[in-house]
C-alpha cells in the first residue's frame, strides 16, 4: 500500500506544476511541445522561447538536485542502444505528429475535457501496453 502514496503525491506535484504554468503565463505543461519549440527556437529570430528553457532547466535541475542530495544509484535502462534509438525516434515523431504526450494530452488535455487528448491518451496507452506485451512475452 505504501507504494501508492508517493505515486499520488508525485501526481499532485505534477498537477500543481501544470497549474502554476497556466496561472503565470497561460501555457499548457506539455513537455514534447515545450522541448521541441525550445530546440527549434535556437535557429530562429526573434527568440521568444526563454520561458521554455527555464521550464526545461527546472525539470533537469530536479533530477540533478535529488541525485546530488540523496546520491541515488543512477537507474540503468535494460535495453540495447538500437532499441533506445528506435524508441526515441518513435516517441519524438509520434508526439510531434500527434501534438502531445503524456503531459500535454494525458494531463492538461484530459483535464480540459479535450476530445483530441482523450482519444490520443487512450491510443498511446493501449498501444504501449500491447507493445510491452509483445516485447516481454512474444519476441
Amino acid at each position: 500500500m505504501q507504494t501508492y502514496y508517493p505515486a499520488l503525491f508525485g501526481g499532485i506535484l505534477i498537477g500543481l506544476s501544470a497549474l502554476l504554468l497556466m496561472f503565470s503565463i497561460g501555457r499548457i505543461a506539455g513537455i514534447s511541445g515545450i522541448s521541441f519549440t525550445a530546440i527549434q527556437s535556437l535557429t530562429r529570430r526573434p527568440k521568444t522561447s526563454h520561458w521554455r528553457w527555464y521550464f526545461l532547466a527546472g525539470l533537469i535541475l530536479a533530477t540533478l538536485i535529488t541525485q546530488f542530495v540523496f546520491e541515488l544509484p543512477i537507474p540503468t535502462i535494460d535495453r540495447t542502444s538500437p532499441v533506445i534509438i528506435v524508441a526515441g525516434l518513435l516517441v519524438g515523431f509520434g508526439t510531434h505528429l500527434g501534438s502531445g504526450c503524456t503531459s500535454g494530452h494525458g494531463i492538461c488535455g484530459i483535464s480540459r475535457l479535450s476530445i483530441r487528448s482523450i482519444t490520443a491518451t487512450g491510443i498511446f496507452m493501449l498501444v504501449a501496453m500491447i507493445t510491452v506485451y509483445i516485447t516481454q512475452y512474444i519476441v
Partner: protein, 143 residues
C-alpha cells in the same frame, strides 16, 4: 524576472513529481504498462492525482480573464480527431512501450548524466524534426 522564476519553479515541481511518483524510473513504467503480465498499477495514481489537481485548478484559473504574465491563455485550437493525431499517438505508444520513457521523464532524467538517456533524447528530437519536416511538405502539397 519573477515570471522566469515562477516558470523555473514549475519545471522543478514537475521534475520532482516525476521522481517522487516513480514515473522517472523506466522499470516502474514498464511494470505499469504490463497489464497482461505482472501488472503494477500504482502509477495510475500519478495520473489520477495530476488529473484531479489540474482539472479542479484549471476551473479556478480560467475564471480570471488572463494569466499573470500573458495577454491570453495559449490553448490548442484544433478540435477534430484527425489522422496525424491517431498515427502520432500510435507511434508514440510503440516507442513508450519499448523503453518506458515518455518525453517528460526522458528530459528530466538528463540530470542523471547517463549516456542512454542522452541517446534517447537525441533520437527523440530527431524524430520530432522528421515529423516537422514531413508536415511542412504535406502542408505545401495541399496548397
Amino acid at each position: 524576472m519573477l515570471k522566469n522564476i515562477l516558470v523555473l519553479f514549475s519545471g522543478l515541481l514537475f521534475g520532482c513529481g516525476l521522481i517522487v511518483s516513480g514515473m522517472a524510473d523506466v522499470d516502474n513504467v514498464i511494470g505499469f504498462l504490463d497489464i497482461f503480465g505482472n501488472w503494477q498499477p500504482n502509477l495510475i495514481l500519478v495520473m489520477a492525482g495530476a488529473l484531479v489537481t489540474t482539472a479542479i485548478g484549471y476551473q479556478f484559473i480560467f475564471k480570471k480573464s488572463k494569466p499573470l504574465y500573458s495577454e491570453h491563455y495559449h490553448l490548442p485550437k484544433k478540435k477534430q480527431i484527425d489522422a496525424p493525431l491517431v498515427i502520432g499517438a500510435s507511434c508514440f505508444g510503440v516507442g513508450w512501450g519499448l523503453v518506458g520513457y515518455c518525453p517528460g521523464p526522458a528530459i528530466a532524467s538528463l540530470g542523471n548524466l547517463d549516456v542512454q538517456t542522452l541517446l534517447f533524447v537525441f533520437a527523440m528530437f530527431f524524430g520530432m524534426m522528421v515529423s516537422h519536416q514531413l508536415q511542412k511538405v504535406a502542408f505545401n502539397d495541399e496548397n
